[in-house]
C-alpha cells in the first residue's frame, strides 16, 4: 500500500502543518469533465483539496480571488494552452508551482514546459503515486 512508500512519506511532509496548518489546495485545469472529476476525487482521497477549471481563462480569472498551492495544467486546452497559462502566471509575477500533464506526448514539449518553469511534466494516464509525489515535490520546492 502507498502508506509504506517513500513517496507518501514525503507527501506526509507537505501535508504537515508546515503549510500553516491547512490542507493543500490544487487547481486542476483540464477541458474534459471526466478527467477533472477523477483527478479531483483522487486528490481529495489523498487529503488534498482540489478545485477544477475547464479552461485556462477560467483559471486565470479565479486567481484574483483564490490562489492554489499548485496547479495541474493540461497541455492541450481549447484557447490558452497549459504552457500559455503558465507563461501568463509567470508574467504576472506570481510564483505558482505547476505540473503540466498531457495525453499527447510530443517531442520537445517536456523541455519547453520545464524551461518555462513547470516543476514536472507528466504523461496521461497518471499514476496516483507519481502525481501526488510530483505535486508534493512542486509544493515542497516552492516552500523551500
Amino acid at each position: 500500500m502507498w502508506d509504506q512508500s517513500p513517496i507518501s512519506s514525503r507527501l506526509q511532509d507537505v501535508q504537515s502543518p508546515r503549510m500553516s496548518g491547512r490542507r493543500l489546495l490544487v487547481a486542476i485545469v483540464d477541458d474534459e469533465e471526466p478527467v477533472r472529476k477523477a483527478l479531483r476525487r483522487l486528490f481529495l482521497s489523498a487529503g488534498i483539496d482540489a478545485v477544477t477549471f475547464a479552461s485556462g481563462d477560467e483559471f486565470l480569472a479565479s486567481m484574483s480571488t483564490r490562489r492554489p498551492d499548485c496547479a495541474v495544467l493540461d497541455l492541450h486546452l481549447p484557447g490558452l494552452s497549459g504552457l500559455d497559462v503558465q507563461e501568463r502566471i509567470a508574467e504576472a509575477g506570481i510564483h505558482l508551482p505547476t505540473v503540466i500533464i498531457t495525453g499527447h506526448d510530443q517531442a520537445g514539449v517536456a523541455e519547453r514546459a520545464l524551461a518555462a518553469g513547470a516543476s514536472t511534466y507528466l504523461s496521461k494516464p497518471l499514476d496516483d503515486k507519481v502525481l501526488l509525489a510530483a505535486v508534493a515535490e512542486a509544493v515542497g520546492r516552492a516552500g523551500q
Binding site: P34, A46, H76, P78, K124, P125
Partner: protein, 566 residues
C-alpha cells in the same frame, strides 16, 4: 487421374498458359497426357471421317484428323509441336492400316496431314496478334483462311500430284478438290470448339442449357425435315435448304463459334444419314458429286456464320474486358482510399492517443481514488460508487474511440446503407476532436434537423469529411489561434444534401480551384496530393459532387452534395 484441361496459351489473365494442369502433374506428365489425348482424338477422328464416307467411294464429307492436329498446334507452345506431331504417327498408321490403305498412300497422307496443320498453324501464329485470342474476329478469320483454305489448298496440290504418281488417283485436280473440301469443313467445324474449350471460354453457361436444348431440338427437327424426309434430289426442295438458317443464326449469336461449328456438324451428320438411307437433297446418282455438294454446302453455310459468331464473340469479350478493367479500377480506387485513410489516421495518431488517454486517465484516477477511499475509516461508499460509475462510463467511451478507429482502418468493402449525414459529421468530429483542440481550431456547426438520408458507404464518407476537416486545419495553421474557425453546415437543397465546410485559412489560389482535386496536386510541403482526388472519386461513386469555392470570410469552402434518398 488428375483433372486437366486444355487451356490456351494464349490470352490474358485467366487464359494464361497452354495445357494448364490444375495440380500435381509435372510438365512432362502434362505433355505426355496431352500427346496421348491428341493421338487418341486423331485416331477417333479418322474413324469418324470414315463413317462420313459416301457409299461406294472412299471420299468423306469431312476429314477431322488434320483439324484436330491444327487445333492442337494452335493451343500449344511451338517448341512442343514436334512431340504432338510424333504422337499422332502411330494413330495415323493404325487408323489408315485398319482402312486397308496401301502403305505409300498412308505415308503421303501423313505428310499431307502434318503439312496442313503445320502450315496453317505457322501462318496463324505469325499473322495473328500475340497472345492468340480465339474470341477475336481477326484470329478466327486467319484460322479459317490459312488453316481452312490456303494450307490445305497448297498441300493438296502436292498430295494430288503424289496420288497421280502412285496411281491412287486418275488426275490431280479431283484429289485436290476432294481433299481440300473435306479438310476445310473439318477446320471450320472442329477447330473453333476445340480451341475455345482449350481457352476455357465458356460455351454453354448453366443458365443457357435449356436454350441449348431447344436449339438442338430445332436443328434436329429442321435437319429431319430438310435432309432425311424428302425424296431424292434437290429439284423441288431447293428453298428447303434455307430452313436451317435461322437456327444457325441463333447458334451464332447465342452460342458463338462452337455453337455454329457444332450446329453445322449436326446438320452434316443428318445430311449424311439422309444420304445413307437414300433420301434428301444429297443422295443423287453420282456419289462424288454428292460428296462435293454436301461439303461445299456446309462450308458455304458455315463460313459467314463463323465470322458473324467471331464478331459477336469479340464484342462480348471486349465488353467483358472493359467491365473487368472497370472493376479492377474500382478495386484499386478502394485500395487507395483505404491506404490514404490509414495514412491519414497515422497523421492523427497523436491526437487519437490523446483521445484514448483521456478516458484512461479518468479510469485510472477514479480506480486509485476508490482504493484510497476504501482504505479510509469510515468508507465513503457513495463516493466509491460514483468513482466506479465513472470508470464504467469512461471505459465505454474509450471503447467507442477504438470502435471508430477500427471502422476506419477496416479494409473490406461495405454494402451501401442509408446514412444520416449529420450523424456521420458528429462521428468524424469526435474522431478529430483532440486534433482540433491541439490545433486550437473551434468548430461552428449548423446542421439542419430532420434531414433525409443519403445512400453510401459510411467509412468512405467519413474519410471524405475527415480529410476535408484535416485539410482545413492545415490551411489555418498559419493564422492566429483565435481566428482558426471551421464552419460546418448541412442543408437540404433541391438537388440533394449539401454539406459545406468553410475555413479561415490561406484559401486556394485563383485558377487552382478545380486543380486541387487532381491527383498529385498539392500545396502542402509533405502532402502526396492524393487526399482530395480520392475524396472526389469517392463522392462521384456515390453519385454526388465535391467542389471548392472561396470562403465568405476569407479561406476556402468545400462543398459536398449527395443525392438524398426519396
Amino acid at each position: 487421374m488428375s483433372r486437366w484441361s486444355l487451356a490456351p496459351a494464349l490470352g490474358p489473365g485467366r487464359r494464361k498458359s497452354i495445357w494448364v494442369s490444375s495440380d500435381r502433374l509435372s510438365a512432362f506428365q502434362r505433355t505426355a497426357l496431352v500427346a496421348g489425348t491428341v493421338a487418341a482424338a486423331y485416331f477417333l477422328g479418322s474413324l469418324l471421317g470414315l463413317s462420313f464416307q459416301f457409299p461406294g467411294t472412299q471420299i468423306s464429307a469431312i476429314w477431322p484428323p488434320n483439324a484436330i492436329l491444327l487445333a492442337t498446334l494452335l493451343v500449344t507452345p511451338r517448341h512442343r509441336w514436334w512431340i504432338y506431331l510424333l504422337a499422332v504417327l502411330p494413330a495415323h498408321f493404325l487408323a489408315q492400316g485398319l482402312m486397308g490403305i496401301p502403305f505409300p498412300i498412308v505415308l503421303i497422307n501423313f505428310a499431307g496431314n502434318v503439312g496442313d496443320a503445320l502450315l496453317g498453324a505457322l501462318a496463324v501464329v505469325h499473322l495473328a496478334e500475340q497472345p492468340l485470342r480465339f474470341d477475336r474476329l481477326r484470329t478466327m478469320g486467319l484460322i479459317m483462311f490459312f488453316g481452312g483454305l490456303v494450307a490445305p489448298a497448297l498441300v493438296s496440290l502436292a498430295v494430288g500430284e503424289l496420288f497421280v504418281m502412285t496411281g491412287a488417283s486418275p488426275e490431280p485436280w479431283l484429289a485436290w478438290r476432294l481433299r481440300l473440301l473435306t479438310n476445310t469443313l473439318a477446320v471450320f467445324t472442329l477447330v473453333p470448339p476445340i480451341v475455345m474449350a482449350a481457352a476455357r471460354i465458356p460455351f454453354i453457361p448453366p443458365w443457357r442449357r435449356v436454350e441449348a436444348t431447344a436449339l438442338l431440338a430445332g436443328l434436329l427437327a429442321v435437319g429431319t425435315l430438310v435432309f432425311v424426309l424428302p425424296e431424292v434430289g434437290l429439284q423441288q426442295i431447293l428453298a428447303l435448304l434455307y430452313v436451317p438458317l435461322p437456327f444457325l443464326l441463333w447458334a451464332a449469336v447465342r452460342f458463338g463459334l462452337p455453337g455454329v461449328s457444332l450446329s453445322v456438324l449436326t446438320l452434316g451428320a443428318m445430311a449424311m444419314w439422309g444420304v445413307l438411307s437414300g433420301r434428301g437433297p444429297f443422295a443423287t446418282d453420282l456419289p462424288i458429286e454428292n460428296a462435293t455438294s454436301l461439303t461445299l454446302f456446309l462450308i458455304v453455310v458455315c463460313a459467314p456464320l463463323l465470322l458473324l459468331a467471331a464478331l459477336v464473340e469479340e464484342h462480348r469479350a471486349t465488353e467483358e474486358d472493359r467491365r473487368r478493367t472497370e472493376q479492377e479500377a474500382r478495386e484499386q480506387r478502394r485500395e487507395l482510399a483505404h491506404l490514404t485513410r490509414v495514412v491519414m489516421l497515422g497523421e492523427l495518431s497523436g491526437a487519437l492517443a490523446h483521445e484514448l488517454n483521456q478516458p484512461l486517465t479518468a479510469i485510472l484516477s477514479n480506480a486509485q481514488a476508490a482504493q484510497r477511499l476504501l482504505a479510509m475509516e469510515p468508507v465513503d461508499l457513495e463516493e466509491v460508487r460514483d468513482a466506479l460509475q465513472e470508470i464504467a462510463s469512461e471505459d465505454i467511451r474509450a471503447g467507442a474511440v477504438i470502435q471508430r478507429l477500427r471502422a476506419m482502418l477496416k479494409k473490406e468493402r461495405r454494402d451501401l446503407e442509408s446514412l444520416d449525414l449529420s450523424a456521420i459529421t458528429w462521428e468524424v468530429l469526435a474522431l478529430a476532436h483532440s486534433d482540433l483542440v491541439t490545433r486550437n481550431v473551434s468548430v461552428i456547426t449548423r446542421l439542419a434537423p430532420y434531414l433525409p438520408a443519403v445512400r453510401g458507404d459510411r467509412v468512405q464518407l467519413q474519410q471524405v469529411l475527415l480529410n476535408l476537416i484535416l485539410n482545413a486545419c492545415e490551411a489555418m495553421s498559419g493564422v492566429a489561434p483565435r481566428d482558426r474557425q471551421l464552419t460546418l453546415a448541412i442543408t437540404h437543397e433541391t438537388d440533394g444534401i449539401h454539406l459545406s465546410l468553410g475555413d479561415r485559412g490561406v484559401g486556394i489560389p485563383s485558377g487552382a480551384m478545380d486543380r486541387v482535386f487532381e491527383p498529385f496536386f498539392t500545396t502542402k510541403e509533405h502532402g502526396l496530393g492524393l487526399g482530395l482526388a480520392i475524396c472526389r472519386s469517392i463522392v462521384v461513386e456515390h453519385g454526388g459532387r465535391l467542389w471548392a469555392s472561396d470562403g465568405e470570410a476569407g479561406g476556402a469552402t468545400f462543398h459536398l452534395l449527395l443525392p438524398a434518398t426519396a
